[in-house]
Symmetry: C2
Subunit: 342 residues, 2 copies
């Protein structure tokens, strides 16, 4: 038994396929008496008719499907949030998300994008694993696209990224407001936008309090627990009056390392040293003792924004100018910040 089609509804209701289609799609121009509408709708309901979206897509030249392309779905614990945001936004507009996890290989990536285009996706969200600057794959040429968590080297591509500097400033400001004056930044050593932008944010927040970041209050290490451990050890292992009372760490994994360093030195968090992280990785931030105060990346919001602007540009007939968005990174307070000792 095949699915029920428009024809079935037409036959049952006694009208033509055309009329049924008009009624079901509620075509504005056409005037159709209520009696007809009712009979058609009754027939459709009785048969539990739903349109075949493939046929619809073929005829309408629009699949109501958008592709989500990234190389990190499997690896990043945050990918899920952007996907979720993207999906919610798509659903709200009657579309659906097709996932494509590209390998590292550029050729493969282009092939996979073309595969999506063969399937007539209406547009594509190209998601980077972490905030970076990139040049979009060639296969994206000529189809509506939005970059997520990335800026393009060339202009002309809409994109959305987190407000790294603002987030970092919020973290430092939180420390300042608790009375801290000696504040260290345990930074990542990679040369990526997040490192430099967060450093900018730290400097801005300190400057706003008439403070500056002393060279011995800045360390750079690999962005994992071990790097955080080393960085924190460097700044904390000194006499109390020279020791920072507040630590801002590049991310939560490094903050975890900072906890370990503090423990190693016999310092308590937050009584002896306050710590703020970045990323809001639930798994870590909520598990630590005390809970880690940190800054959240707006993954969900970026996903939503990406799909929303993507669909705006699909819906609009003439070509829109690209949009560039920067979304805020809110502070998430837990228990790792207190007033400085003494």
């Amino acid at each position: 038994m095949g699915r029920t089609t428009l024809r079935d509804v037409a036959e049952l209701s006694g009208f033509s396929v055309t009329t049924v289609s008009y009624v079901l799609n509620d075509i504005p121009g056409k005037r159709i008496p209520d009696s007809t509408k009712e009979r058609v709708q009754a027939a459709a309901a009785q048969l539990a008719y739903t349109p075949n979206r493939l046929a619809q897509g073929l005829r309408r030249r629009r699949s109501d499907t958008i592709g989500f392309v990234g190389d990190h779905v499997a690896t990043s614990p945050h990918a899920g949030q952007s996907i979720q945001g993207a999906q919610d936004a798509a659903a709200a507009r009657g579309s659906i998300l097709v996932l494509m996890n590209t390998g590292a290989d550029e050729d493969l990536e282009n092939r996979e994008i073309r595969e999506l285009r063969d399937r007539q996706v209406d547009g594509i969200v190209y998601a980077a694993e972490y905030h970076r600057v990139l040049t979009p794959p060639a296969a994206l040429e000529g189809i509506p696209t939005v970059l997520l968590d990335a800026r393009s080297t060339e202009s002309g591509w809409s994109s959305v990224v987190p407000d790294e500097a603002g987030g970092a400033a919020a973290a430092v400001t939180e420390l300042l407001e608790h009375g801290h004056r000696r504040i260290a930044f345990v930074n990542n050593e990679d040369d990526i936008p997040a490192s430099s932008l967060r450093l900018d944010g730290v400097r801005q927040a300190l400057a706003a309090a008439d403070l500056a970041l002393a060279p011995d209050m800045l360390t750079q290490h690999p962005s994992e627990a071990r790097g955080g451990f080393l960085g924190a050890l460097t700044v904390l292992d000194r006499p109390a009056h020279e020791r920072p009372t507040g630590l801002f760490c590049f991310n939560d994994r490094m903050a975890l390392g900072a906890y370990q360093a503090a423990q190693e030195l016999g310092l308590r968090v937050p009584q002896d040293v306050s710590i703020v992280g970045f990323d809001n990785q639930e798994l870590i931030a909520a598990s630590l003792r005390p809970g880690l105060t940190t800054v959240a990346l707006p993954h969900y919001d970026m996903g939503r924004w990406a799909v929303d602007t993507l669909m705006d540009s699909i819906d609009s007939t003439r070509k829109e100018r690209p949009r560039y968005e920067t979304l805020p990174c809110p502070l998430v307070r837990r228990g790792s910040v207190a007033a400085p000792p003494g």
Copy 2:
């Protein structure tokens, strides 16, 4: 400019649409001279022709698309791995994955599954967030389906779950092989398959070494860091000769709590107490000092298996009997297990 179609290739090559289709699909029955094949292929290559998959799907009554339905894409840090596995398996068979993150609401879930069916997906992977027993939503009736990380209450549904007992046994065996005799299990308190199956595994492994699990060597708490902290504290806070030298924790978050408890009591890991976790959450397991020895859940493999068996059943003409699979949970060694003290 529209995409290039079969017609374009036909016109350029000088053959009919039919012939072009035969050549490009390499239809077995038809005899077509090489000269023709070459001309058609040249034309197709010149125009960079690729078929419109919507039209193809409509005609073939097969979309080469499979739906991945779950309620946890956003929340679970592991979802990505199953998705990745599913996607890899799908890609290997020329299909693509459509993601659908259902809400908690059952109605919504059914609607979303129907939406997938309207889009003519060939089959559906229904993924649970954690190992459980469930009854599949009504909307899945009549379409090839595989349950991932879940068993069905009714028979007739193919499904794949992790070998919880085997994984737990491996964890305890690892401790036994390092010479531990007093081993405690810091269990989760929820009544879910994972808790009872892992407990079974613990008992089996101990029994194989002629040991039993003493009541005071088993605790049950909420499955987060705090619960692990409490559980570990309970078993560890006693005189050394009664204290377990090895701890197996329900999951890595609880293991993290156990580290905290050990620290609280002045016990070093692994010199004074060895700890094994479950889940292999990189974020935690690799960040801890020392690194956490744990048991990995086969998310990726389950994803692959689900799609593979799904596509087997789609491809086979007659209805296959359901398959039930249990995949192994391998031990991942890091640094938290050593010989017991003394």
